[in-house]
């Protein structure tokens, strides 16, 4: 299963959500939707209307920046980054 890494801004919002976990899914959106099943409300913290990734949320799969339709392989590493913004 893909190895998903989440930002530190996200984990305090959901009880028991770890920084790193294995998640089923063939695309980024599928993996996020799988997380949503266990932590309701999580999708809305990463995905805006459209659906589209929120403007300052970046996702990398195996070090390549992708969008919600980015493909995941069983051994992929998916990094969700809260990009530097604000102040």
């Amino acid at each position: 299963m893909p190895d998903v890494h989440l930002p530190t801004t996200l984990t305090p919002l959901f009880a028991g959500l770890p920084r790193r976990l294995d998640v089923e899914g063939a695309t980024v959106l599928e993996a996020i939707d799988r997380l949503e099943e266990q932590w309701p409300g999580l999708r809305d913290r990463l995905v805006a209307e459209g659906p589209a990734l929120r403007p300052h949320i970046h996702v990398y799969v195996d070090k390549e920046r992708v969008d919600l339709d980015g493909r995941l392989e069983p051994r992929s590493r998916m990094d969700v980054i809260a990009a530097i913004s604000g102040g």
Binding site: P7, L13, D44
Partner: protein, 359 residues
Amino acid sequence: MARTLVLVGTRKGAFVLESDGDRRDWALRGPYCEGWPVYHAIWDSGSGTIYAAAASEWHGSAIWRSGDLGESWEMSSEGLSYGDDEGRKVSKVSTLATAGSRLLVGVEAPGIFESRDGGETFSLVSTLSGQPGSEAWDDPANQPPGHLGISGFVTDGGDAERFFAVVQGVGAFETTDGGSSWTPRNRGLRRDWPAEHEEVGFCVHKLVRSPSDGQRMYQQNHVGMHRSDDEGRSWHEITEGLPSDFGFAAAAHPHDRESFYVIPLDAGHGRIMPEGKATVWRTSDAGSSWRPLRQGLPQEGAHLGVLRQGMAIDSYETPGLYFGTSTGQVFASPDEGETWTMIADYLPAISSVDVAMVD
């Protein structure tokens, strides 16, 4: 013993200042809401809940709630969306109010959502579509700085179906059917710019109603202080005697329909208190005259700004006034504004102040 809580929304989370009924000694706790920018934190006396409208740069908008006076918090945005097909986006939750058991949420792009289950889920009430010019409200080029969308509510304590909503840079609107239909309530307001529509195109910064007389309303406008004696159907200007016609914050005295407080600001880019003197102004005759309240407030080098949700008043027999600044100070007066004390400093920039009286 009575507890008095001042709820402070800041750019880095919500804070709570707590005192007793005397309102002399205060203790600060926070930050709450994981440091999200909080645009408006309010007290719902009906349910004993604190609600905070917050919008994270990273994680979007949500309403935080606490049922234990701020000790623990939950957050939800379920239903707080225009959906994937509309093209409109909720960029920010700007303001909150309660109307009966409903929690009203004002958002940008301009729209009103409600929660009927205490902030767990939300649904769209209205975008005020059909009002003159509303088709252009979503265009960022047409929006005033701040991009607040719906910037304030005034609710009717006795009738949950009847309330006012302010669209930033457009004007005030009233509904009497819970949000299904709307009527502009801007007649008589000053407007120093050309506009296409007679009834809309006004810049209402803060709208308040006298708790002791629902017909009596006041507003701090972009251009002038105004009063209404007929529940917003007509307005006339009462700026004379104030040092500026510009400001954001305003509060109505809970027991005296003639008394009202404002914080005038320089109208240019600065938008800070004139001459570096922190001052709240009070009228006790419905705007015929104004008196500065300065005792205890800094009178030298105090270049303070206060935003539209930045002042609150409690409803003790002798009401207390509170305001928070964009440089992180909170000032409080336990005696209707006659004397003041700084009760917090070094907070993040303050967006909102509300007050709760708890038995």
